[in-house]
């Protein structure tokens, strides 16, 4: 469904990705794990069009997308839930959600919003509150719900567990697994919390210094000695 072929990406003047290739098939939940600064976020930002590769290509359902703008890419059904939640702090919960569905007709936005409120009742209680005044966990729920608003068929998650209490992290991982299994949304999940990511993923890639070093079934990687030592702390 998504095919990245040998991309090189520079951020400002620093090269961050040195020839990376990966693929995600329809229906899969694929994890991309690695340390801080390895190039995980840059990879996602390149897929969603905020950055453009200096070489290589990205194909989605067989068509090149690496020259498109972010607002064109979201219209193809690729949605990006950014690192650090990035809800609009001075917009209300309802305004955040409604903008999440910016590309949909008004009637559809209202329907989607009701279904988000059904999935995340906490957001319904806080609908007229400013997003910036909510707790980190609530903001993460809002960020996920906002990303779901545009009815994506492919979702990118960037460090959804970052800065959240362990109990909330598990809840967030369950939500992502559900989005993948029940809603049939293909997922590419970037995480530093390798343990959590591997527990819900089908397959995974390990990225180090802008290059992939390992790939395999998530279950196999969890048994891999190197991964256990370097990423699972065992």
């Amino acid at each position: 469904m998504l095919e990245i072929k040998d991309i090189k990406v520079a951020y400002k003047r620093t090269q961050v990705i040195y020839g990376l290739s990966l693929h995600v098939d329809e229906g899969e939940l694929v994890a991309l794990i690695g340390a801080n600064g390895a190039g995980k976020s840059t990879t996602l930002r390149t897929i969603s069009g905020l950055l453009h590769p200096s070489a290589g290509s990205i194909q989605y359902r067989g068509a090149d997308i690496h020259k498109l703008l972010p607002e064109q890419i979201v219209r193809l059904g690729i949605a990006h839930c950014p690192e650090g939640r990035r809800v609009w702090p001075k917009l209300t919960v309802e305004e955040n959600l409604s903008l999440g569905g910016y590309i949909l007709p008004k009637q559809r936005v209202l329907e989607k919003m009701e279904s988000m409120y059904a999935h995340f009742p906490i957001l319904k209680d806080r609908r007229s509150q400013l997003a910036g005044s909510m707790s980190g966990g609530e903001q993460q729920m809002l960020a996920i719900a906002r990303t779901l608003m545009c009815q994506p068929s492919f979702m990118l998650f960037d460090e959804p567990s970052l800065g959240l209490a362990p109990r909330i992290v598990e809840q967030v991982m369950d939500i992502i697994a559900n989005i993948n299994k029940k809603e049939n949304v293909t997922v590419l999940l970037v995480e530093q919390n390798a343990n959590m990511a591997l527990s819900i993923a089908d397959r995974a890639y390990v990225i180090e210094s802008g290059q992939l070093t390992l790939e395999g079934k998530a279950a196999d990687l969890r048994q891999d000695d190197y991964v256990r030592k370097a990423y699972l702390g065992k």
């Binding site: 069009g49 990035r86 702090p89 917009l91 305004e95 903008l99």
Partner: protein, 288 residues
């Protein structure tokens, strides 16, 4: 006491046009990080275009306002397309240098085409003042106050009640995420710049109907608008509106009670006080 209220009322009328001027300037800086030193030139163009429209096309005053605002909006789109668009990723100082250049270019182009004879836009309003509760106003000034307040309210409604306004506020707060939800950042920038230019143009028509129009009338207005933007907190629209009224009133009271010769200095005294005691402006956070 009546004297005080008269000055206060005059200050509020002038202040309303200041608010109109500053909204565009502060929005453009807040959203795109452009120090627009050519903002006053759109004010000047508003006056010049309106004068030209009333003379050459023989439109009446009210129609000329609408036509002028539309033309300034278009000019805003054109300049955004050929110039401002190249300034979004460059350092702020560069934006200042380029817009100073644009300002000189526009001033002198108008000077070449139009000369430097001060003119005033003719209006159908009678010169005879009205007396309301002991205070005297010309009906033209009342008209100016009503139009500016209506436009300020209209702007607030657009920003807070429409899908476009929501998208603008989202872009203002986090443009990457806005782009990822499908908002066209370029379109938001272009519309914001054009809208700000149209508001400056409107202020130019209104002021050009009771002050004089000349090719160089914009530069002092740019500095005044910057002063107001700083007082209100740069990038803050409620701040720009409040700051506009505040400076109008201060100028008017200063001119009435102290000396009219230093009228323009009073606003800068306020700026200095604000910078000393509240360096981020009276309304500190960026907010549409």
């Amino acid at each position: 006491m009546l004297e005080f209220f008269q000055q206060l009322a005059n200050g509020l009328i002038i202040g309303s046009t200041y608010a109109l001027l500053t909204i565009g300037l502060t929005m453009v800086f807040g959203l795109m990080q452009i120090l627009n030193y050519a903002h006053g030139e759109f004010y000047m163009l508003g006056g010049v275009v309106a004068f030209w429209v009333t003379q050459a096309l023989h439109l009446n005053f009210f129609l000329s306002i609408i036509v002028t605002v539309a033309i300034c909006f278009m000019l805003g789109l054109v300049f955004e397309r050929i110039l401002m668009r190249r300034l979004y990723e460059v350092p702020i100082v560069t934006t200042a240098i380029v817009t100073v250049g644009l300002s000189i270019f526009l001033q002198n182009s108008v000077f070449m085409l139009w000369g430097n004879v001060p003119r005033t836009i003719p209006t159908p309003f009678p010169l005879k003042p009205l007396t309301i509760g002991g205070l005297t106003f010309t009906s033209l000034r009342i008209f100016v106050l009503i139009v500016t307040i209506a436009v300020i309210v209209f702007t607030q409604i657009i920003i807070h009640r429409t899908k476009l306004g929501r998208a603008m506020r989202a872009t203002f707060q986090d443009k990457d995420v806005a782009a990822m939800t499908g908002i066209s950042i370029r379109k938001i920038y272009a519309l914001t710049f054009a809208y700000g230019s149209a508001l400056a143009g409107l202020a130019g028509v209104l002021c050009g109907s009771y002050l004089t129009i000349s090719p160089f009338m914009g530069s002092s207005v740019t500095t005044k608008a910057w002063a107001i933007a700083i007082v209100g907190g740069i990038g803050n629209i409620p701040g720009a509106i409040f700051g506009g009224f505040l400076l109008g009133v201060v100028e008017s009271l200063g001119a009435g009670y102290l000396s009219a010769a230093y009228k323009d200095a009073y606003s800068f005294i306020i700026v200095i006080l604000v910078l000393v005691f509240r360096p981020n402006g009276l309304f500190s956070k960026k907010e549409l």
